[in-house]
C-alpha cells in the first residue's frame, strides 16, 4: 500500500484546513479498511492518534487538543481519507501522519504532511506571476477573437447586402446560372467589400444609388 499526502499545508489562524490523504493499493478496497491520523507537535517527540476510521465508522479525538475540531470528509470508496481541522491555532503547528491499512494489503509507509499556521497565509511563489501572465494573455486572446468574430460578421453582412444588390441590379437575367456562379462570385465580392467597409457612407450611398438604378430599370 502506498499512501499519499501533501508535503505542506498552510492555514490562517481561525480558519480551517483540509488534510488530504489518498492511497494506492494492490487489493480491492475492503470493508476492513482503516485510516489513522497521528499528530506530532512541532518540536514534540511523541505522536498521538487523533483520528481513526475503521469498519465504516470514524472515531474522533474527544479529549485532546483537537476536540470537536476534526471533521471526517473522506470516503474509502474513492480512496480518500481526508480530514478537516477547524478553527486553527498556532499550537496546531506540527506534523500529521496518515496511515492506511487495507487488509490484506497492510505493508507500506505512512505519509506525512506538515501544517503551518500563519496570521495571514502568504501567497505561494508563482501564483501572482502565473495569474498576471495568464490573465493578460487570456484577455488579449479574447479581444482578438472578439475582434475577428465581429469583423467576420460585419463582412458577411456586407457581402450578403452586396449580393442582394447585385442581384437586384441584374434583375432576373442570370437566374438559371445564378446558383452555379454564386460560389465563384462570393470571394471577389468579399474582396471588393474590404475596400468599402472602411466607410459605411460610401456603401450606403452606393446602396441608395443601386436602389435608384434598379428602380429605373423596373420602369
Amino acid at each position: 500500500i502506498v499512501v499519499y499526502t501533501d508535503r505542506e499545508v498552510h492555514g490562517a489562524v481561525g480558519s480551517r484546513v483540509t488534510l488530504h490523504c489518498s492511497f494506492w493499493s494492490s487489493e480491492w478496497v475492503s470493508d476492513d479498511i482503516s485510516f489513522t491520523w497521528r499528530y506530532q507537535p512541532e518540536g514534540g517527540r511523541d505522536a498521538i492518534s487523533i483520528f481513526h476510521y475503521a469498519k465504516g465508522q470514524p472515531y474522533i479525538d474527544e479529549v485532546g487538543t483537537f476536540k470537536e475540531r476534526i471533521q471526517w470528509v473522506g470516503d474509502p470508496r474513492w480512496k480518500d481519507g481526508s480530514i478537516v481541522i477547524h478553527n486553527l491555532d498556532y499550537s496546531d503547528n506540527g506534523t500529521f501522519t496518515c496511515d492506511v491499512k487495507n487488509p490484506p494489503d497492510i505493508v507500506g509507509k505512512t505519509s506525512q504532511v506538515t501544517l503551518y499556521v500563519f496570521e495571514k497565509v502568504p501567497t505561494r511563489y508563482g501564483v501572482v506571476l502565473g495569474a498576471v501572465i495568464g490573465g493578460v494573455l487570456g484577455v488579449v486572446l479574447l479581444l482578438l477573437l472578439l475582434f475577428y468574430v465581429v469583423r467576420y460578421c460585419w463582412l458577411r453582412r456586407q457581402a450578403a447586402l452586396q449580393r442582394r444588390l447585385s442581384a437586384m441590379e441584374k434583375g432576373k437575367l442570370h437566374k438559371p446560372g445564378k446558383d452555379a456562379s454564386k460560389r465563384g462570385r462570393q470571394t471577389p465580392v468579399l474582396y471588393a467589400m474590404l475596400d468599402h467597409s472602411r466607410s459605411t457612407k460610401a456603401v450606403s450611398e452606393k446602396k441608395a444609388k443601386g436602389l435608384g438604378e434598379s428602380r429605373k430599370d423596373k420602369k
Binding site: 501567497t123 511563489y125 501572482v128 506571476l129 495569474a131 498576471v132 494573455l137
Partner: protein, 160 residues
C-alpha cells in the same frame, strides 16, 4: 524600402535584446556588496565577482513585475513573428495593425514593470543604500523604443 525594412527589424530586435537583458541580468539595484534583479539577490565582492545568490522574496508586487517583463517579451516576440507573417500575407497598402498593437502592448508592459518596480521596491529591498543598475535603465530605455517601433508598424503601409 529595403533599408527601411531592415532598420525596422533592427529596431525590433534591439528592443527584444533590451528586454531580455533587463529581465535576466542581475543589475536592477546595486549597492555596496550586493546586486539584485527580479529573480535573485546576490552579494558581490569589490572586484565584481558574484559570491552568493539567493532567490528573491515572493512579494506579490515583485511577482507582478516579473510577470509583466515576461509578458512584454512574449508580446514582442509575437509581434516580430506576426510582422514576418504580415509581410508576406498583407495586401498591398495594408497596415501592420496587429504587429503594431502587440509591440505597443509590449512597451506598455515593460513600462508598468519598471513603474511598479520603482514604486514598490522598498518592500522587498530593505537596504537603504542603493542605486539603480543598468538593467533597470535598460528596461526604461526599452519602453520608448518598443512604443516607437509599435507606432511605426501602425503608421507603415505595405508597399510591394
Amino acid at each position: 524600402m529595403l533599408l527601411l525594412l531592415l532598420s525596422i527589424i533592427v529596431l525590433h530586435v534591439a528592443v527584444l535584446v533590451l528586454l531580455f537583458v533587463s529581465t535576466i541580468v542581475s543589475q536592477w539595484i546595486v549597492g555596496n556588496g550586493h546586486a539584485t534583479d527580479l529573480w535573485q539577490n546576490c552579494s558581490t565582492s569589490s572586484s565584481g565577482n558574484v559570491h552568493h545568490c539567493f532567490s528573491s522574496s515572493p512579494n506579490e508586487w515583485l511577482q507582478s513585475v516579473q510577470a509583466t517583463m515576461i509578458l512584454s517579451i512574449i508580446f514582442s516576440i509575437l509581434s516580430l513573428f506576426l510582422f514576418f507573417c504580415q509581410l508576406f500575407t498583407l495586401t498591398k497598402g495594408g497596415r501592420f495593425y496587429i504587429t503594431g498593437i502587440f509591440q505597443i502592448l509590449a512597451g506598455l508592459c515593460v513600462m508598468s514593470a519598471a513603474a511598479i518596480y520603482t514604486v514598490r521596491h522598498p518592500e522587498w529591498h530593505l537596504n537603504s543604500d542603493y542605486s539603480y543598475g543598468f538593467a533597470y535603465i535598460l528596461a526604461w530605455v526599452a519602453f520608448p523604443l518598443a512604443l516607437l517601433s509599435g507606432v511605426i508598424y501602425v503608421i507603415l503601409r505595405k508597399r510591394e
